[in-house]
Symmetry: none
Subunit: 194 residues, 2 copies
């Protein structure tokens, strides 16, 4: 069926292997794991061999036993060398309706890989930032802003900060913030958000 092709896309995650590894690491049998999770050993076996895809509740049950989060199963260990080269021309450009400028998406989702865990974020370049008055934003995550050109007034919460070319700031973007140009020239910079 149509799902057939989609399911292939799940294989790279190596869910089965991960499950088996977790279990064997604790030298546990399928039956024992079955007791802890209230799942049948038969199914666990099928899951580990990729004959079957667990539902989220099922996967969570297993995760709870091993003390891992669900991310664990979807972050891949595969060595990814070069992930992407984003050339300026090939980028998607979206209007930054909130700020009034425009945003080039370089990476929509980046995997920062630390120890075992990964952090997702996206990386964007904005070339023009709101002229005079800009609406204020508030989005989940952290924002790392590096200003390449221009001068920018940034208000985070009640704090007003002026950035000049070459300055960088790292702040909690769940806090209400807004920005507007402080120079005649356009501002450009780089934003990394989680």
């Amino acid at each position: 069926m149509l799902n057939k092709t989609i399911e292939d896309g799940l294989k790279p995650y190596g869910l089965g292997e991960k499950l088996r590894t977790l279990r064997l690491r604790k030298s546990m049998g399928l039956v024992e794991l079955g007791k802890h999770t209230s799942l049948s050993a038969a199914m666990l076996s099928k899951l580990e061999r990729g004959k079957l895809f667990p539902t989220l509740p099922t996967l969570l049950r297993i995760a709870l036993v091993f003390g891992v989060g669900l991310e664990y199963f979807f972050t891949d260990e595969r060595k990814r060398h070069v992930v992407a080269v984003a050339r300026k021309k090939e980028r998607l450009r979206f209007p930054d309706n909130a700020g009034g400028g425009s945003v080039d998406y370089i990476f929509e989702s980046l995997n920062f890989k630390a120890t075992e865990r990964k952090l997702h974020g996206f990386y964007a370049e904005f070339e023009a930032v709101a002229s005079e008055k800009s609406r204020s934003h508030q989005h989940p995550g952290v924002e790392l802003l590096y200003l390449i050109s221009g001068k920018l007034d940034l208000t985070i919460g009640s704090e007003l900060i002026t950035l000049e070319a070459g300055d960088a700031i790292y702040f909690d973007s769940t806090v209400r913030h807004s920005y507007h140009r402080a120079s005649k020239t356009l501002c450009s910079g780089i934003i990394v958000t989680t």
Copy 2:
């Protein structure tokens, strides 16, 4: 049923919110997303409101449209504050002995905080990159390089890539890599490493 309690454990992941956010970020309607994913708008609506938990194949279909991996849905964010403002003048400058240029450390160590885990990274600006021949590097982690000016030849493993101002690349820096200028002018760019 017994699943009832387990499903509560899924709520913290905020799957629905994430789905909605992704969709709205591209100002897309349920119907339109439905077409791209071959899923009914009705179901998408239920997913976004947490009335339903998607199967993995279904979730993958959506993920593919937005260009995110499945991990995206299982990593959660937390509130952080303004961490630092680094002004150009106050920065520490170190010679980049490996590359031959010099490096300004903007942040020596940033904490990207996902779920419960933390990711350490540092953020650096390099203003001059190796003249002709540069030694090759190899350090743990991932590297995100954004080139601001100049032209740079980057060799990762056996692959040679030329970056121009405005280009960005994301690669595994555990792989041996080296770089040198491809232009007469100095190169400057930004590097984020884990």
